[in-house]
Symmetry: C2
Subunit: 440 residues, 2 copies
Amino acid sequence: MQHINVGIIGFGTVGAGTVEVLLKNSDIISSRVGSEVVIRKIADLDIDSDRGISVDSALLTREAMEIIEDPDIHVVVELIGGLDKAKEYILKAMKNGKHVVTANKALLAEFGDEIYQAAEEYGVSLAFEASVGGGIPIIGSFKGGLSANRIQNMMGILNGTSNYILTRMTGDGLPYQEAVEEAIALGYAEDPPTLDVDGTDAAHKLAILVSISLGVPITFNSIYREGIDKLTPEDIRFAGEFGYCIKLLAVARTRGNRLEARVNPAMIPLNHIMASVNGVYNALYLEGDFVGPNLYYGMGAGRRPTGSAVASDIISLARQIRHGIKKLIPPLAHVHPQAREASARPIEELRTAYYFRFSAVDKPGVLSKISGILGDHRISIASVIQKGRDLKGSVPIVMLTHEALESDVIKALSLMDNLDVLTDRTMMIRVEQGEEGPTE
Amino acid sequence: MQHINVGIIGFGTVGAGTVEVLLKNSDIISSRVGSEVVIRKIADLDIDSDRGISVDSALLTREAMEIIEDPDIHVVVELIGGLDKAKEYILKAMKNGKHVVTANKALLAEFGDEIYQAAEEYGVSLAFEASVGGGIPIIGSFKGGLSANRIQNMMGILNGTSNYILTRMTGDGLPYQEAVEEAIALGYAEDPPTLDVDGTDAAHKLAILVSISLGVPITFNSIYREGIDKLTPEDIRFAGEFGYCIKLLAVARTRGNRLEARVNPAMIPLNHIMASVNGVYNALYLEGDFVGPNLYYGMGAGRRPTGSAVASDIISLARQIRHGIKKLIPPLAHVHPQAREASARPIEELRTAYYFRFSAVDKPGVLSKISGILGDHRISIASVIQKGRDLKGSVPIVMLTHEALESDVIKALSLMDNLDVLTDRTMMIRVEQGEEGPTE
């Protein structure tokens, strides 16, 4: 029986997890594939550090090209991260007829188009389960179990670092900065955790999900991004009084031909199942036109879960190779996509409900001024909380609106900034009304 | 480009949902497959009733054999349910070289072994995503994204009817019988809902999940089953006081070579994500040795979600057919399973924590008698609630135990039944301690 030979480029956290699962669960893997899956080479600039797994030192090399040019290697696994080198290695490996597995979300989000086309051109397979949601089999579900559906709505908690920070701010009232420092100390966040907390990492993952859902790459820069660094424990408390919690959400919706795709802090109802996703966990909630609401939940990062996802891609490719197939399905799982590229509409065209927290001076007539400006911009108020003076001497006026147009909100808030009855910039958070209930 | 021809046997609820999704989303489906998927024939004894979808009447036949013997049909979809006829049709279709898709959980649970072997023997594929969890892509995740893992622990809410009943008993304190009648009136339950509430339906699904997880069929009768019909609103309230809710759980665990597989009402901690699964929703929570905890959630039944799952299987098979492959992976996704058959150990060997509600006469010394018997059977008490007289004149004494052996519990409770200080049989509910937290 033919062995399936794998070369791994990048022996960091995910590389070590991948090697670990391939070695420890080799019995399960060969039983599932029907052939042995063999690690033929591992390339990394550092081949001396201890990764906590024992690997034959003859497998280690500092030269990625030794893997890419090895005629016996069937599958090249790219786990170095970053853009330029990773792209170069992947394209060269494909050109050499290798199937490729990658966990590189930034690369796929920003240069996916080029990479998907190269796979088509060279007639090889490309798999990237590990790029979104760690070990949660999300990509596989889009390619498989959900494949008969139009996905109309997705809401993802796709960044474990920011979800941990928000969970700590919610549960214990920690200020943002303290929660960040704790996350860094516990190893859940890098220092500084910029790409995690500013929404970039979640947007990379959302780009991949939208692309696999539609079957065409989405222009990454069309995805609106907003981070969590301006949120305060007060906003989280007020959200709770309205029956909501705050999560960093990656949202994508299709309405007719219009595509909405954005990452922003959002309020979701406390009785929505996504409100139960806490700590470093990730989840994707989606609604398909036939399947209805679905949720996928698990560890979104970490050596072992991500290694599990990479290994599952290797297994899928190994099954194909055993049957002599070069390419069972294209990278985005559409043989005949209906467009060349997708692009999200500008955030100004968004229609949603909003939360506002105004910092007002404690004088009569302020609420009337505020509501007058909102009314002028077709923004109608759903509920208001006005509390005593506890925020820096000013009075917080907090409200939820009905659905309004973002461009109107932007105009109204910019007028508010000039009001002398408001002592600070107005806090705005988008509200998701995601109804939780049977679809039929 | 070659068309993929499908024949559907059974035009009931799931059949109609399958036809509906194949017709309504034919653009998505052909884009994903790269060929058109064509419904060639639909067989049902009743070809006159309106199913709410317009189908060319020339496609309809009363003769299943017309489908099974049609040389142009690639995929036969069995959706009639039941055992004998369904099995006969599936085996004949396979013998004729057809790939088979089925949603028939009872058949796979009870006769899976024979059917999986026939698929191997005739060199065809068998797919059954719709047999568990409606449209939730659970089977696909076992075959794909989770395939490098040893699944150590599964806890499923796999029957929407009983979950709806328990949700109503929990949220509104409805007695069991009232909740059942409401479920029947709303169309969530059959009348009578025997197989749903007695655990049989969930056990069928658990059998399939255990089989696909281990790669070998499990003997259905080795799965212990207990229904929800003895639960009272009082037990649900007491569970809440201890910080738990009650769900009908399908549980499977492997510890070394020992397999635990059972369906029973179980208490789960309120902060566990499974406690958020309410109404007619289904969910599967599992832990793999690398992926860690994972949850899959969605509608577990219904025409459209189940149709979505059937169609996803058709898409997978159609992709293979286009590439000329008869059989990419075996039915249970293991080419070389490590055993011939699996069997769960007897319930008497279970070790878990327990909830007991004793109906005691209000006299001194009762608690000491009870705890004496428990102590004699190596059952140690974790916490106790004793309340005023509100249950039929007797005093409820409610307790949680530490982990104990089921055979000891059975002996202790049977001794209790003879105590004259207890006025009724003791209520016993198993307790799941499923910790919710990062695995590393």
